[in-house]
C-alpha cells in the first residue's frame, strides 16, 4: 500500500514538473514572458508549485528568489493548491455604497466557507476582489468568469448553486 501510494505521489510530482517545464520553455523566449507563463501554469494546475519555481527560474535565466519575488507580489498568484473554481465578492467603494459591506460580513455564514479558503465540500474558493467594473449595478460578485450584479445575502445561495459545478 505504502509503496504504491508513494509511487503515485512520485508520478504526480513528475507530471507537475513536466507541465511547469513545458510551459516555461514556451514563454521563456518571449519578451516579458514570465507573467504570462505564471498565469498559464496556474490556469493548468490551479497554483504555482513552490517546489518547481527553480525550473521556471532556469528557463528564464533568473534566480529562484527572483521568481519567488514575482509570484509573491501579485494577489492573483498562489503557491498552494486550490479549488479550480472561485467566488469573488467585490469589496470596493462603489459596491460598499450599494450594500457589499453586509454581503462581505455575512457571506461566510451563508456559504459555509471563510475568505481565502476552499469550501470543505464544494469545489470553489472564496475571495475578496476590488472592483469588477460592474459598479453601476453593485453589489457585484464573480463566479469563475461570470459577473453578477445586485447581489445580496438572500440571492447569493441560489446563484452559487446554479453557477458552481460540484
Amino acid at each position: 500500500m505504502l509503496s504504491k501510494h508513494s509511487l503515485t505521489v512520485k508520478a504526480m510530482k513528475a507530471s507537475l514538473e513536466k507541465t511547469v517545464e513545458q510551459t516555461a520553455a514556451k514563454h521563456a523566449a518571449s519578451q516579458g514572458g514570465l507573467l504570462p507563463c505564471l498565469h498559464e501554469i496556474q490556469a493548468k494546475l490551479g497554483y504555482i508549485p513552490n517546489a518547481h519555481l527553480e525550473n521556471i527560474a532556469t528557463a528564464f535565466s533568473l534566480s529562484t528568489a527572483e521568481v519567488h519575488g514575482v509570484v509573491s507580489f501579485y494577489h492573483d498568484l498562489r503557491t498552494s493548491p486550490s479549488a479550480p473554481q472561485s467566488i469573488q465578492i467585490c469589496c470596493a467603494e462603489a459596491c460598499q455604497a450599494s450594500g457589499s459591506r453586509e454581503l462581505e460580513a455575512g457571506v461566510a455564514g451563508v456559504l459555509g466557507v471563510e475568505f481565502d479558503e476552499t469550501h470543505p465540500t464544494h469545489n470553489y474558493r472564496l475571495e475578496r476582489v476590488y472592483c469588477l467594473g460592474n459598479c453601476a449595478c453593485g453589489p457585484s460578485i464573480r463566479i469563475n468568469d461570470d459577473v453578477y450584479g445586485r447581489v445580496d445575502l438572500e440571492s447569493l445561495p441560489q446563484l452559487v448553486t446554479e453557477a458552481v459545478q460540484l
Binding site: Y74, H75, A92, C135
Partner: protein, 521 residues
C-alpha cells in the same frame, strides 16, 4: 419585413440578466415563428435600462425596450408580431430619444452599442478607420501636431497633455519604441475602459496604431486587468480580425508600415495601474514603482522610449484624426478640452456611462441622469475620481466637472468615476478603507506609504471602535502630511485625500467634539 434584435453582451448587461433574456427571446421567437436576426452588441452604458432590447423593423429605426426581465419576453414578442408594441410596459420609444442618451455628446462612445463589437465591416460603415487612413497620409510630426491642436489630456487620471508626451517619444532616439495601453482600470466606480473595449474594441486598436505611426513605434501592448475576462476575449478576437484584414501587422493597409499588438494580463495588483509599475509588470517583474526620471517616454518598456496612455486617451485619437483636432477642441471648458466619459456608480437609481463636455455640474449628473439614490434616501457623500479621490459632501455638489474646478475643491476628477453614498454611510469606515487599501496595495518601495498606511489604518481602527483620543487624530493628520509630501507616487501621495476630506467634511463621524477636532487639524 426584416427584423433585427439587439441584446447586449456587456459585462454589466449580462450581470443583470441579458444572457437569460436573450435565451428567453430565442425561445419565445421560435414559438411565435418570428423571423429575425439576433445581434449581440456592446452596451450603450445606460445601465439603468439593462437588459435592454433594441428592435429594428422597417422604417421606424431602432426601438428600445427595457429593463426587460425574462417574464416580460413572451408578451414583448407578441407585441412585435401582432403590433401594439407602443403599449408594452417596457417600451421606451426610439433609441435616439432616450433621455439618458439624448442629452450626451458622444464622441468616443458614439459607436458603442450600435453593432456586434468585433464586426469590422460594421465598424468601417460607422466611420471607423477613417482616422488611420488619414494618419497614413501624414508625417509623424503632423499627427502629433493634430493631437496638440485637440488639447487632449490623458484620461487615466493625471490629465497630462498627450501631444507633449508623444512629442517626447517622437524626438527620443531609438530603433525600437513602444506604445503601451494602460487598461488596468483599477479605480472602483469606473468602467468606461471596460465598456469601450467590450463594445468598440477596434477604436482602441485604431488609436494605438495611429499612435505607433506618430511616435515611430512598431509594437504595442495592452495591459489588461485580470478582472476583465470579457474584454480580453473581445480584444483578442478583434486583433485577430484586424490582422487578417491588414489593419495590423507588417503592411498596414498596404502602406508598408508596421504595427503589431498584443494583450497582456495583469494579476490583481492595483498599483500596476501606475505607469512605471505597469512597465515593470509587463517586463515580467514585481510591479514596483520606478523613480522618475528617467521618464518612460525616454526609457520605458525594456528601457526603450515608450508612450503609456489610457484606453480612452488612445481611443479618442481615432476620432481626432478622423475629424480633426480643432473639431475635438470645440467641446469643453477652459483647459479641459473635449468630452469626458463620466461613470455614475454606487448607490444610484440609474448608473452608467455619461459622455459630456467638461463643465456639467455634479448635481445634474447625480439627479438628472442618475435619478438620485437607489435606496431613495438622501445623498450624503460622493467620492469623485476613484479610491484616491476626495469625498465631497452634499453641499458641494454644484461643482462643475472640470479638472480645474475639482482641484480647487481639493479633489480630483481622475478617470471620471462618481460614487454616490446615501446617509447610512459611516465616513470613518470609508477613511479606514482608504488607508487599508493603500496598506494592501502599496508596492513597498517607499517608507511613507508602506509604513504610513499601516499606522494610519491602526489609528482608524480605534476611530471605528470609538476608542480614539484627540491625540490619535493629530497623529493621523501628521501621517497624512508625511504621506502627501514624501511618497514617491500618487498611491501614497493621494491616499490622504479621501481620508482628510472625510475628516474635514464629516467630522461628526470621527467621534470627537468640534473643539478637539480643531486642535487636531
Amino acid at each position: 419585413m426584416t427584423i433585427t434584435v439587439y441584446i447586449s453582451q456587456d459585462t454589466t448587461a449580462v450581470a443583470v440578466g441579458a444572457e437569460r433574456v436573450a435565451t428567453a427571446f430565442v425561445q419565445a421567437a421560435l414559438n411565435a415563428e418570428l423571423n429575425y436576426t439576433l445581434v449581440r452588441n456592446g452596451s450603450r452604458g445606460a445601465f439603468g435600462l439593462e437588459p435592454l432590447i433594441e428592435i429594428e423593423m422597417g422604417a421606424q429605426g431602432r426601438l428600445a425596450f427595457g429593463p426587460v426581465s425574462v417574464a416580460d419576453v413572451p408578451s414583448l414578442v407578441t407585441a412585435i408580431t401582432d403590433g401594439g408594441y407602443e403599449r408594452h410596459s417596457n417600451y421606451l420609444g426610439p433609441v435616439s430619444t432616450i433621455p439618458w442618451l439624448e442629452n450626451q455628446t458622444r464622441i468616443t462612445f458614439k459607436r458603442c452599442g450600435e453593432g456586434a463589437p468585433t464586426d469590422l465591416a460594421n465598424y468601417r460603415a460607422l466611420g471607423g478607420y477613417r482616422g488611420l487612413e488619414h494618419a497614413l497620409t501624414l508625417s509623424p510630426q503632423a499627427i502629433v501636431d493634430e493631437i496638440k491642436v485637440s488639447g487632449l489630456r490623458g484620461r487615466g487620471g493625471a490629465a497630462f497633455p498627450t501631444g507633449i508626451k508623444w512629442q517626447t517619444v517622437l524626438d527620443a532616439q531609438g530603433e525600437q519604441k513602444y506604445i503601451v495601453c494602460n487598461a488596468d482600470e483599477g479605480d472602483s466606480g469606473t468602467f468606461a475602459d471596460r465598456l469601450l473595449m467590450e463594445a468598440d474594441p477596434y477604436q482602441l486598436i485604431e488609436g494605438m496604431t495611429i499612435s505607433g505611426l506618430a511616435v515611430g513605434a512598431t509594437k504595442g501592448f495592452i495591459y489588461l486587468r485580470s478582472e476583465y475576462p470579457r474584454a480580453q476575449k473581445m480584444l483578442e478576437r478583434a486583433i485577430d480580425v484586424a490582422i487578417a484584414e491588414g489593419y495590423l501587422g507588417a503592411d498596414l493597409c498596404g502602406s508598408g508600415q508596421r504595427f503589431e499588438l498584443e494583450v497582456r494580463m495583469g494579476a490583481g495588483s492595483y498599483i500596476c495601474g501606475e505607469e512605471t509599475a505597469l512597465l515593470n509588470s509587463l517586463e515580467g517583474k514585481r510591479g514596483v514603482v520606478r523613480a522618475k526620471p528617467p521618464l518612460p517616454a525616454l526609457e520605458g518598456l525594456f528601457g526603450k522610449p515608450t508612450a503609456v496612455n489610457n484606453v480612452l486617451t488612445l481611443a479618442s485619437v481615432s476620432s481626432i484624426l478622423a475629424d480633426g483636432g480643432a473639431e475635438y477642441a470645440r467641446h469643453g471648458l477652459d483647459r479641459s478640452k473635449g468630452t469626458m466619459p463620466l461613470q455614475l456608480a454606487g448607490n444610484i437609481q440609474r448608473g452608467g456611462l455619461i459622455e459630456v463636455p467638461f463643465g456639467v455640474s455634479l448635481n445634474k449628473v447625480i439627479n438628472e441622469w442618475g435619478g438620485g439614490t437607489r435606496s431613495g434616501r438622501p445623498v450624503r457623500a460622493v467620492q469623485v475620481g476613484g479610491p484616491l479621490g476626495a469625498y465631497l459632501s452634499s453641499d458641494q455638489l454644484d461643482v462643475p466637472l472640470t479638472y480645474e474646478a475639482l482641484a480647487e475643491l481639493g479633489g480630483m476628477l481622475g478617470h471620471g468615476g462618481i460614487v454616490v453614498f446615501d446617509d447610512t454611510v459611516d465616513m470613518a469606515k470609508q477613511a479606514h478603507f482608504a488607508m487599508d487599501f493603500c496598506a494592501k496595495e502599496s508596492c513597498g518601495k517607499c517608507t511613507p506609504c508602506r509604513i504610513g498606511a499601516v499606522r494610519g489604518r491602526e489609528v482608524l481602527d480605534r476611530v471605528v471602535d470609538s476608542t480614539a483620543s484627540s491625540n490619535d487624530l493629530i497623529l493621523l493628520c501628521d501621517l497624512c502630511e508625511t504621506m502627501e509630501q514624501a511618497s514617491l507616487c500618487a498611491m501614497g501621495g493621494l491616499t490622504p485625500l479621501p481620508v482628510k476630506s472625510a475628516m474635514d467634511n464629516f467630522p461628526e463621524d470621527f467621534g470627537v467634539t468640534d473643539n478637539q477636532y480643531e486642535v487636531a487639524v
